[in-house]
Assembly symmetry: C3
Homo-oligomer: 302 residues x 3
């Protein structure tokens, strides 16, 4: 089987239903050839969208990916590339940063996008996300900057990440094009977007959210605490019924949400990606969905 | 005296200022004749609106009411009937339900409305409410389903219950007709809608909220706890001034709110209903209103 | 140097970047001549906007200010006057008030504005603010009342104070003119407006918020508690770099916010006002801004 692509907004780009997250690319210690191989295997699985950020790997991961693309420029047209900017990390690679902070000024955004394009060895990003809400975001100024990046062809679409609904509305109100996504945390151990209006806004504005940390950073598999243990226990109980592993059921649980979320998977293990692709075919029974929600909340949810 | 009717939304239906809640109809153990008598006494008092839900009495109460209407079909035109759906209870009457959950799929909503109409022995509901926000609500799909129920003449108006403002906005955004109410909990022991935007939304969108549990499930009369005791003490102090019982003053307090809320009264005791009707004539002094608010909050509110 | 004026809303009035708060005018024990002198010194500094409320000084401060204006009516055209109403204090000056409460009925608002005009010895207010959200606010009725006050020339502009975003939206929805500000609490010890949508709304609707208690009522200078101490320590560290006192840096920190807030300064000390005027020239480095935010929150903010 291969994944279908999803239009994430009526005006927006098509992205693969599952997204390959590049946050840990540096940790995988791959040669250029191995990176090319990884990208090709993702494409074969239908995972054509790759999620980057300037800061991943302390500002080094985009370059690692770009080295593969430079070797195999024919791959560029077969994939969609997301990057993010707006966070400034303290690292020896950015000695000027004395404190972790945000920067959404046009100067910073423009220079960050330039560097991402260079590092990724591409002329354009399919989607640029503002990585986190900057309390000093001048929305009108930022919107102008983003519109110019679109006019210049450097980015095709704009979105945000970790924005509250008010912050989303604010930035949207200054833009002439729709924001096409909000990349947020959501998992059986982090239910906030269900209750804080985030998913309601997604449905209302017809965009598909992207989901980071869909397995709560692995806590769902390993943590002994009450909540994680309870959730895992229920996932295990469903193993037989769905002929699926607990990671697949946890993923199916996420994807059942009517806002049509697109999970970002941070693994470099192709087998786990294959397993995730199969999970897109699971039709989770509504009552099972609520059993898992109840396990997470610790009380009846209806 | 008799109650006036209130238009609950500019496009919406007229409902009686007080609403008879049928949640405990089964507990009252009434013969069909007694049920007819109860309905007639309500009508005489001007309480013409009856609030049902598919699940009340473990899915049995609508039928109890319908048996009375079947005997006396002439009563149908003298009353307004509300029902609700979207909650799935675990009960021997619904063996397929393994866990309490929500279901707002068109299949469930349509079949629930069909059953309500049959049980209530009527061709239409004056108002259908989605009983609680379903985290799996596909708003566009649900809106289509609701619009079809209106086209088919099975329901005249649509509303919701226990929705946050974001959930309300979402469902409204997919509908071609206005939602005409949000039935919510509000009482001197549950002040949330004043502070969480719910009442602000009601005023902004010009709908009258309906209020369930206006006496906090009786806690306002019996509970010894700090808050309930404090509130009761202040209600008792006003007895003389308003020549009214504490339940009447508590009700007048609710109805003072400028969003024009319509309380749902769950009692089968006609004397208590009469007492409530009289309460609609009480003009609570603004300072007394704040005394009660202060008693509930435990500190100055200005 | 002298302050520039700021247009606080595209349709709105120009106000001085810093506002003189009259809440403690009675405490300063000034003769009429001294009050005139204070007003003139403010004007010389470019602080031309004076922030009043009916209740300040237990309903006496507006009169103190008006006595100065009566002596020197030529000053009226050189200044902008804000007043507020809607709170009812218990004080011997208002024996009818048995409990601190809110009142936003047309009767109360109209009579409060009349008294403010008389006491302030002026024909009009540049800006009237509803002082706090009244849980009994009938928004349509209040909006009519405010529109009439504008038609009658008694007030030029309308705003609010301490409103949540939902309350702001509600009142705005009933008005034919824009609300031009929300006067709120904000300081290094009170960060809420950054995170609760208040500043997002200000930017979205293009109004400048006004800020009360910019130094957290002095706690930022004196309090020994963890947060205040931590913040003060970081302010002191920046003394050298900016050649500025800690109150100036704290003020510059506030004014860095892209919503262009206008601080209200409650001091009668002209030297402190001068110092504040100089603070408007400080360009706080973005990383220093985040250092102070981090000091207040107690953890990394990015």
């Amino acid at each position: 089987m291969s994944l279908i692509k999803k239009k994430i907004h009526p005006n927006g780009p098509e992205m693969s239903h599952l997204i390959a997250g590049m946050m840990r690319l540096n940790d995988w210690n791959l040669t250029i050839t191995q990176r090319i191989d990884f990208i090709e295997k993702c494409i074969d699985l239908g995972i054509t969208t790759f999620d980057h950020a300037d800061i991943y790997g302390a500002y080094t991961n985009e370059k690692l990916f770009g080295e593969a693309l430079k070797e195999r420029p024919d791959l560029r047209d077969q994939i969609e590339m997301i990057s993010k900017c707006g966070i400034c990390l303290t690292t020896e690679n950015r000695a000027a940063h004395k404190i972790k902070h945000y920067d959404t000024t046009p100067d910073h955004i423009n220079s960050s996008v330039e560097k991402s394009l260079q590092n990724l060895q591409t002329d354009y990003l399919d989607l640029l996300l503002i990585h986190r809400p900057d309390p000093l975001m001048d929305a009108a100024e930022l919107a102008d900057c983003l519109m110019n990046l679109i006019s210049d062809g450097k980015i095709l679409h704009i979105g945000v990440s970790n924005f509250t609904t008010a912050q989303y509305e604010l930035l949207q109100s200054k833009l002439d094009v729709p924001l096409v996504t909000n990349q947020i945390e959501f998992s059986l151990l982090h239910l906030n977007p269900i209750y804080d209006g985030t998913f309601d806004q997604a449905q209302k504005l017809n965009f598909s959210p992207m989901i980071w940390s869909p397995f709560a950073g692995g806590r769902i598999f390993h943590e002994e605490s009450g909540v994680a243990g309870r959730v895992r226990h229920h996932l295990e109980e469903m193993h037989q019924k769905y002929q699926a592993d607990i990671d697949q059921i946890a993923l199916a649980w996420l994807m059942t949400h009517p806002s049509n979320p697109l999970p970002v998977l941070g693994t470099g293990n192709v087998d786990r990606l294959k397993s995730a692709v199969s999970a897109t075919e699971i039709n989770l029974d509504r009552q099972d969905w609520f059993k898992l929600l109840k396990a997470s909340r610790g009380h009846d949810v209806a």
